[in-house]
């Protein structure tokens, strides 16, 4: 009896690993972690900390897919001037002494110690239990202290009335907003739009997952390769890390 059970278990494991291999995008690298969609009615838990690992060596300087996907998913129009709303942008870096160039997507770094939350006078800026830094627009008075406090220049102010809202992502004039790590998708167990778009474009530069889960791909990658955080000297412990900076 017990042998039979073990056999079934073994068969199950074989099949399961084959299924995992099917969605692996490279040996030892999954597109994103699965089975994290919370059941309806359950609050976000601090056992989870969502984060990203961005591989700048895989990021193509000519590619803008992550920005386009974010804009489409969250309903913000293409930024034309510096005061326009922009949740994610592409940044080109050049080391002057060597001429080495790299490219990376830049957005809210979802800090563990977010300065935007510290300065917010109405507690509209907050960090959710699972590490996602958000703006509660019901409370935001549009003072823009958080925009000044953010060392990554990740937040934008909505200057003009929004027409044709997206039903998943309410946006309105007079409030500050930034990358939400696609919280509405993450809660359903999906990856953020930029991650999906990057993989679709064949670059796979963004790895998304739970930084607290010892079995997650992102956890294993961060343990095995050299990664860095932006402005680590500030001690904010961002949830977004980079490879190849």
């Amino acid at each position: 009896m017990s042998d039979e059970v073990n056999l079934n278990r073994r068969q199950f494991l074989t099949k399961a690993s084959a299924a995992v291999a099917g969605i692996a995008i490279a040996p030892g690298m999954l597109l994103f972690d699965f089975a994290h969609g919370r059941p309806l009615g359950e609050a976000a838990s601090n056992a989870v900390r969502w984060g990203m690992l961005i591989d700048t060596t895989q990021c193509d300087s000519g590619c803008n897919e992550c920005v386009t996907a974010c804009s489409k998913e969250n309903g913000w129009p293409e930024a034309k001037s510096s005061t326009d709303v922009q949740w994610i942008r592409k940044v080109e870096l050049k080391q002057i002494s060597t001429g080495r160039q790299s490219s990376l997507p830049m957005m809210c770094q979802h800090c563990a110690e977010p300065p935007c939350v510290d300065v917010c006078p109405t507690a509209a800026s907050f960090k959710r239990a699972d590490g996602i830094v958000l703006v509660d627009k019901h409370r935001c008075i549009g003072c823009r202290y958080c925009m000044m406090a953010c060392p990554y220049k990740a937040r934008s102010f909505v200057h003009e009335a929004v027409i044709d809202h997206d039903s998943d992502m309410p946006r309105g004039k007079g409030t500050v907003e930034s990358c939400t790590l696609c919280v509405h998708r993450v809660d359903k167990g999906e990856a953020p739009a930029c991650v999906e778009a990057c993989a679709k474009a064949g670059h796979r530069a963004i790895l998304f997952g739970d930084l607290n889960d010892p079995n997650s791909e992102i956890y294993l990658r961060i343990r095995s390769v050299t990664t860095s955080q932006l402005r680590a000297d500030l001690g904010l412990n961002p949830g977004i890390s980079f490879v190849g900076l």
Binding site: R38, L40, G41, E42, A43, A44, K72, F126, R128, A129, D130, L134, D136, K137, H138, A161, V162, H165, D166, S167, P170, R171, G172, K173, T175, V183, D187
Partner: protein
């Protein structure tokens, strides 16, 4: 005096009040998530409570939700709860002289249609 009493009687009849009550397009209608009388009076408290739980704690799929209100009550003609005084939200709020702020940020359109238009 008799004429005065008659006018007073006419003024006091419910039919007088009824002719000014909003005629609402209730969209899909059917069974509401709670007793309609209760909802008429308390919907704002319910969705304020729910919005804090969803935005701040990440609790989704609650009994009360603005998106669910809109999905059910958007007019079948244009899938919107706003537009003119027959539309569900606008009509009643106009009647009660209360301005709803929800739709400054939230979509007033039925979700299925909004998704299909993308």
């Amino acid at each position: 005096m008799k004429a005065f009493l008659l006018i007073l009687f006419l003024l006091a009849t419910p039919a007088w009040a009824g002719s000014f009550a909003p005629k609402l397009d209730i969209g899909n209608g059917g069974q509401c998530v709670d007793d309609p009388k209760f909802m008429r009076k308390n919907h704002m408290k319910m969705i304020v409570h729910q919005r804090d739980e969803t935005v701040r704690s990440g609790i989704r799929g609650g009994k009360y939700s603005l998106a669910a209100c809109v999905n059910c009550h958007a007019s079948k003609k244009d899938n919107n709860v706003l537009g003119d005084n027959e539309h569900f939200c606008q009509g009643c709020h106009e009647y009660a002289a209360v301005k709803p702020d929800c739709f400054e940020c939230h979509s007033s359109k039925r979700k299925v249609v909004a998704e299909a238009a993308k």
